[in-house]
């Protein structure tokens, strides 16, 4: 059975991506760190799309949890093959560099950059063997442009962009594409509290984006037809930065 694994799939953009994967016919593995109720809501939405899936709890910042939970899942489910991996899980710990704590720096890097590395490593081998795979990393406008107050987040996302381009060149010959999407301001819990009115005035499209619009782009990059697009970063920001 062909599966799509979406990290941080319980809420926001991750949830919309899970629904998109379900609409594409994938069995969806919804990873979450703590909010089981939200993960189950996502699973219900996946089922509404006529597909199936399951929730899988592990913290992408922990290589031990990835190895034990995801590794064990893969061993126990040899009939299921993760064809699509969406590295979406991320956290914010905004602070200007002057006041940033080591924990804020390390925590954000461990989740975004470390998470990308350890989760991808776990599933890559099977893709290499099958000679097919789609890896989509959810990065951010921050990783392209840099945003003040997000030195940690910008560094982590820029790191993932570099890794996306490098890995794409390593595995292209085996039918695996590696791309990234870089959302700008999207209406989710993560952007709540931002001065929306002020920000919207700078966005050519004059509104925040929706999680579904990001998911649509992820779905495109994850599709079989996108096989000649790799190492690319697709901005989804209403024209804010290009």
């Amino acid at each position: 059975m062909k599966c799509a694994l979406v990290t941080g799939g319980s809420r926001g953009i991750g949830r919309a991506i899970c629904v998109e994967m379900a609409a594409m016919g994938y069995y969806v593995i919804i990873n979450y760190k703590g909010n089981e109720a939200a993960a189950n809501e996502t699973l219900a939405l996946v089922k509404e799309k006529g597909s199936s899936g399951e929730i899988l709890k592990f913290d992408v910042a922990s290589k031990e949890e990835i190895a034990s939970v995801l590794g064990s899942w893969m061993e126990a489910n040899t009939d299921k093959y993760i064809e699509v991996l969406v590295n979406n899980a991320g956290i914010k710990a905004d602070q200007i560099m002057m006041f940033m704590t080591d924990e804020q720096w390390q925590g954000v890097l461990d989740t975004s950059l470390g998470g990308f590395y350890y989760v991808t490593k776990q599933v890559l081998n099977a893709m290499l063997q099958k000679k097919y795979g789609r890896i989509v990393n959810v990065v951010s406008l921050s990783g392209l442009k840099g945003l003040p107050g997000q030195v940690n987040y910008s560094a982590a996302k820029a790191g993932v962009i570099g890794a996306t381009k490098a890995l794409a060149q390593e595995v292209g010959r085996r039918g695996i594409t590696v791309n990234a999407v870089a959302p700008g301001f999207i209406k989710t819990d993560m952007t709540e509290g931002l001065p929306e009115k002020e920000l919207v005035s700078m966005i050519p499209v004059k509104r925040f984006g929706t999680a579904e619009e990001v998911a649509h782009a992820v779905g495109f990059l994850a599709s079989a037809g996108a096989g000649y697009i790799t190492g690319e970063v697709l901005s989804i920001n209403g024209g804010l930065y290009s």
Binding site: L128, Q129, E170, R173
Partner: protein, 85 residues
């Protein structure tokens, strides 16, 4: 699996995966040069070994493997070790 069977299996997948002329594969020939392996080709080599013999290959395993015979010896050794476990 006998040593001869392992060698035959290796030769078959090398010919298929790297589109090599079978007559060029001799025990004393240089593996890297014969198969024209660059560093990224090792991904393919590791994948075919792991999928055909079901053991994990480490990057350092390739240190000291120069000829096809070295490569056969390595795989035979790993297959036999695995069978003992």
């Amino acid at each position: 699996m006998s040593n001869e069977e392992i060698i035959e299996k290796i030769n078959n997948f090398l010919v298929e995966e790297f589109e090599t002329d079978p007559s060029k594969i001799t025990p004393d020939a240089n593996l890297k040069e014969t198969l024209e392996l660059d560093s990224l080709d090792y991904i393919d080599l590791v994948v075919v070994i792991e999928s055909n013999f079901a053991f994990k290959v480490k990057p350092e395993d390739f240190v000291g493997i120069n000829t096809f015979q070295d490569f056969y010896n390595y795989v035979i050794d790993r297959v036999n070790t695995k069978e003992l476990v």
